[in-house]
């Protein structure tokens, strides 16, 4: 087994991030194309802030909408994947630092991960 050098860790992270973005962008594109085909002639109005309905705010609702192939649900699911990409990066770094037996940075990375989890907890009631 190759050692988890900083260099290797960074390269794996780079690849992870790129594929996360490609995947997320593809889902957003598919949902967006479906939306514009179905509702392209509707009149958009973003002047007044109303906020999104609960189904497009919470992870469970977004997953449900995406699985039933609602265009807005698909886009939102892609965006959720995009937000999860850097979180996955941090999670991977926790494991990598632990494998390097680098206690200081395992703790540092765990703190960052905890802050991100707290934030994502806002979409998972």
């Amino acid at each position: 087994m190759r050692a988890w050098t900083d260099d290797l860790v960074e390269r794996v992270i780079g690849t992870l991030l790129r594929w996360g973005v490609i995947l997320a962008a593809s889902v957003v594109l598919a949902g967006g194309a479906a939306y514009l085909v179905l509702y392209g002639s509707s009149i958009p109005d973003y002047r007044i802030f109303r906020g999104q309905p609960p189904d497009l705010r919470m992870a469970a609702g977004i997953a449900k909408e995406a699985l039933s192939l609602h265009p807005t649900g698909l886009i939102q699911f892609g965006l959720l994947m995009l937000i999860a990409t850097p979180v996955a990066r941090v999670a991977f770094s926790v494991v990598a630092f632990a494998l390097q037996r680098d206690r200081t940075y395992t703790v540092v990375t765990l703190i960052v991960f905890a802050v991100l989890m707290y934030s994502l907890g806002r979409v998972a009631p």
Partner: protein, 278 residues
Amino acid sequence: MNSLEFSLLVWLGSLAAGFLGALTGLGGGVVIVPLLALWFGVDIRYAIGASLVSVIATSSGAAAAYVKEGYSNLRIGMFLEIATTIGALAGAFLAARVSPSAIAVIFGVVLFYSAYLSNRSRPERPEPARPGSWGTLLRMDSSYPTAEGIASYRVHNVPGGFGLMFVAGTLSGLLGIGSGAVKVLAMDQVMHIPFKVSTTTSNFMIGVTAAASAGVYLGRGYIDPVLSMPVMLGVLAGSMLGAKVLTRARSRILRIVFSLVILALGAELVFNGLTGRM
């Protein structure tokens, strides 16, 4: 204007913003909010949500390319992300308590400052750091490739950089921008990290910082899928295109022109905010 035309126009605007942002190093996110709020009549809260998402996409999309060059420093980035993510959470919570007009004024001021930061010449640094400092304790000192071979560097003033990173995170969470300019300021000027290492590590940190506030924004219903779709896809495509061109040419004139655009947008935001039009 129907949804199809609106999406195409927003996509084109975001493409241009991402392209110029990558080319000038100012980032695309910084003009997305004014673009949407001033030209497309979008409520600033929706604009911030869409911008935040595009910032994550740009940062993650570019990371792979930067990592290959061997400039970014994972340890420095991870340690400072403690400050930026907590700052980003604070900013996101603040955003719900501050009126849209006040956000517009703050945004305008940040735009002025970003344009100033990116156009001034960087002062020379003083003596190298003493051994036994925080940077050495946290094993942040490292090396990077230069034209003359591998050069090593020492990290100064970690507490000062950490404090400024908290500010960068708060601005990112409050305004939906990457605040790369402030992050680079903290690393390059306060911590005396080489410029190339600062910019690439900053880019790496932007995505994690933005993700910390994006969860709060999504949960609060600020992220509109139909608006975010063309913004994210446009900025992502534009910035990747810009990064390709960047390796061939970096135009000073372009940077000045883009800075003038940013100044004009900043002035308009401050004016609209103060006259209560936001």
